[in-house]
């Protein structure tokens, strides 16, 4: 149900470009339905996930 993948951005540049990865870490939710730039607190990530899945 939940898949969490670390992606080495320099090895997969097309993917990083596709999702407009500007800095790291950057978390892309459900292939672009949401995105979080930087290492954010758990509740901020949860808020963005909620926004992306609804």
């Amino acid at each position: 149900m939940i898949r969490a993948e670390g992606v080495e951005a320099t090895e997969f540049p097309e993917l990083a470009n596709q999702f407009n990865v500007r800095g790291v870490p950057q978390t892309v939710i459900n292939a672009g339905m949401g995105t979080v730039v930087g290492a954010v607190p758990e509740k901020n990530l949860l808020a963005e996930i909620k926004r992306a899945v609804n």
Partner: protein, 147 residues
């Protein structure tokens, strides 16, 4: 073949792995097609798995083992799946890493192994509750760089 991890690093990993609780199984997926970092990633995992008997490793190929790749949702190489092991059974937690875990990301891999070994996400009650009630799959991709 020359080792990728020197003795000092191996002894640090051994010390870190003392925190491990349950066994962890690593799945490596390589590819026949141009995969610049596949050989190094595979060797790195072999050296990590040799440090502690709680860590086991199996080697797959995206083309020859398409069924395993599909089962573990692997679509690029090199890929590492950090799974739990219970007896002979491999349990997928959906935790994986695509690319070579070098630099900073080496530490991330070691921490992931410890985390999976503890069988506890460490997430807050609020997040657990939300995730438990998910109705659709959730796919998080965290883009990182080795530096």
């Amino acid at each position: 073949m020359e080792k990728l991890l020197n003795e000092q690093v191996v002894s640090q990993i051994r010390k870190t792995f003392e925190q491990m609780k349950e066994p962890v199984h690593l799945l490596f997926f390589g590819s026949q097609d141009n995969c610049e970092y596949c050989a190094d990633t595979r060797q790195l995992l072999e050296e990590i798995a040799a440090v502690d008997e709680k860590v086991s490793l199996s080697i797959y190929n995206l083309q020859d083992n398409a069924d395993m790749a599909a089962r573990f949702n692997v679509d690029k190489t090199p890929a590492i799946v950090i799974a739990a092991k219970d007896g002979e059974q491999v349990i997928d937690f959906g935790i994986q890493y695509s690319g070579i875990p070098a630099g900073h990301e080496f530490g991330t891999l070691i921490n992931d192994i410890i985390l999976v070994s503890g069988r506890d996400s460490g997430l807050s009650e609020e997040v657990r509750e939300f995730l438990k009630n998910l109705e659709k799959p959730l796919y998080l991709q965290v883009f990182v760089t080795p530096t």
